[in-house]
Each structure stands twice: as C-alpha cells, then as structure tokens.
Assembly symmetry: C2
Homo-oligomer: 236 residues x 2
Amino acid sequence: MENGKVYMVPMSLGSENFKYYLPEDVLEKIRSIRFFIAENAKTARHYFILLGMRAFLPQITVYEMDKHNKDFDYSVYFDVLKNSHDLGVISEAGCPGVADPGASVALSAHRAGFQVVPLVGPSSILLSVMASGLNGQSFAFNGYLPVKNPERQKAIKKLEDRSKELNQTQVFIETPYRNNTFLETLCNVLNPNTLLTVACDITMPEEFIKTQSVANWKKQKINIDKRPAIFLILKK
Amino acid sequence: MENGKVYMVPMSLGSENFKYYLPEDVLEKIRSIRFFIAENAKTARHYFILLGMRAFLPQITVYEMDKHNKDFDYSVYFDVLKNSHDLGVISEAGCPGVADPGASVALSAHRAGFQVVPLVGPSSILLSVMASGLNGQSFAFNGYLPVKNPERQKAIKKLEDRSKELNQTQVFIETPYRNNTFLETLCNVLNPNTLLTVACDITMPEEFIKTQSVANWKKQKINIDKRPAIFLILKK
C-alpha cells in the first residue's frame, strides 16, 4: 500500500463563493480527505460545511495545531499516512504554511519522508503583489510589525530602506482593527515619494487595491477599519 | 458607462489540466475577456485554446508587452477600459506581475486610476513556500542569481546569511537547463546544516518537492535537468 500524502489546503479569505478561489479539482480533492490538522478545528468545520462536506463531518477527524510549541513534532499524527489516508493541513485564512503555523506540519512530513502537495488557492500576499504594480521580480513578506513606538516606526523605516537598497517590494500585515491608525503612521513615517499599496478584502465583492505615492495617500481619506488588509511599499 | 477593469490573468505552470489550477469563476471571467496584454502573443493564444476559447480567437486582440522598456507607459492601450471593456494581463507562466514584466502594466493602470483585479491561480513561488515547511511568516523571492562565478557563489552566500539574519526563507529560480549544475553549486557553497527545498514541475503529475539539509542533499542524486524548478533556503 502506498503512503498517503500531506495536502496543504487553502482556506477562504472571507468570501463564501468558493468557485472564485478554489479550482474544481482542488475542491474535489479536499472533499475526499477525512483527516486534517487545522489551526482551529471549529473554523475548519465551518469551512467544510461551506464546501458542501456536511454529510462527511461525522467521518472527519480534525487535530489542532500546537501554536505554543513551534517545534512540535507532528509525526505523532502520521499513522494516518502510513495507513494510506491523506492528511489535509488547513489554516485560519488563505494558504497554510504561509503566514501561519502550518509550516511546521510540512517540515515534520518532509523529515519523516512523506510527500507534501500544495493546492492552488487564494493568498492575499501573492494576489496583492500581482495587483500592486510594484516589483514582483523581488519581494519579501514580513508578517506583522511591532505594535509599539519607537520600534514600530523604526521597523517601517528599516523596511523602506531595504526596499530601496534591494529594489525589493516589502509586504506586511496589520490586525484589522488597527488598520486606520497604521495607515496614518505609514503616511507620517514613509518618504512622500515611496509607492504604497493598500489592499483590502481581497477576493471579496468589496475588494479595494490601490497603489500611489505616500504624498497622494496623505490627500486621500479612506476607511479600512476592521477590513482584512495588506500593505506593500517600494522606495525608488 | 463604467470603466473596464484590468484583470491579472494566471497562466498554466505547464499542466494542461486547468481544472486543477484555475477556479471555475476565474475561468469564466477569462473566457469573457477580448483584450489582452501578453508577454508573448503566441503563447497567450495557445493558452486561450487550451481554455476552450478557440471560437473567440477572431475577436480577441493581444497586445505584446514591451520587455526592453520597463518604464513603458501602457496607458496607450487603456481606451479599451474607457470603452467599458476589460483588459487581461497575461505572462509566460504562472501569475502576471510576479517574476515577469506584467507589473508595469498594473502600475500604469493605477496611475491612470483604473481598477486592477488579481485572479487566483498557480504561482510556483507561493506553492513552493506552502509545501517547503520553511518559514512562511517571513520569506523573500529573489528571482535569478548571477550566472558567473565568483558573483554566483557570493550571491548564494549572501542569501544564506540574510536567511539566518532575518530568519527569512530565501526563494530563487534558475534556467531549467542549468538546474543540475546549480544544485551542485548550492550543495558546495551552502552550510551543510542549511535547509534546502528543491521544487520541480509544480502542479504537474510528476511534481517533486523535497526539503532536507544540504548535507542530505549531497548524499542524494536527483536529475532535475530541464524541469521547471524553484529553490528555497533557510539557515537556522
């Protein structure tokens, strides 16, 4: 019997129309999986219902990731693979293994010699780089920046400098309820000529993606409070 | 009349089974577009045929990107948008605007005030980060490295150092016919404990993605000649 495979399963970015962000054969693959490791079991089950898997829920086992121990050895769950069952890895939003703890599951799988298969789905990082018009030949995702000053302002300045030095688009995120003040801070700290992309509600009907100089952002008032957002900068 | 929108249209990574990498509603959107800016018009037309658009070819206009002038102002093509037609941007493989000239089209669109919409599709960068098990909270795509030594070895060393300093996964690509010698060079230049992911033929039946230490790669002989590949490193 062949071993099962570890599938990295993309999750919605908030949209309920999965036909807009999951390929048909990817959906079919997800529907065939009965064992999952999830960042949050409850969110995962809600997602399975959205994907039309309600009838399979009684047969589905969801293990939760250990967020407090990033070196946790997930091979304790790999008997499933040895018994030829596939194992799905699923995060809170977007693509597992990117900006979330799913990566340690994949690394445990590589260490134990199992195949890891990434499934195509929505990533706010990739989609925002595509639409930004900023340099896509060189870009870096940096996760969250420090919350408190002066560390926060320093981190912004450092990323701006790096974007110029390496000609590398710098991508970062913020907790949605802090978006408005974060945009204000960006406008105050960054050079007026630096290009800044604000991308909100990606893949949703109210999607908003705009690139302009910091000088122009200062003149425009937008409300992005509590909307999932991602920010990109490039200093020329 | 509302303006048309600029759609960033994902292209196959080599697979012919578009149901595995294009969401149904994305496919429908692409099929409705009659004006495109493409990296290569011939490749684009082949792709349209694969996507079942043969009947529309006579009505489809494909403008080619200007690869020799990266500051080319694409707004010369934007009458299409003013006439309420959508405009698709399409590259040679994967997602436009990422690792290709499509970004300047998106930037021209932002400057002219048009909406840019990224469509979900396959990206070897994102998919390889997902499956690598390396740090996905911080990663950078660096494109191609210099071809000649000593610049080549220096660039590899520099990225390895940066991966440790920033705890940032470093991603890069190589021309497929140089893959085998490139992997050899990586094994010789990198620290034996550095984690190296080799990902080939992503989204294809022969997909191969493996992460292990450089010491272990040295013991394993693989042939990745002429297979589209992407490389990721992380030094702990």
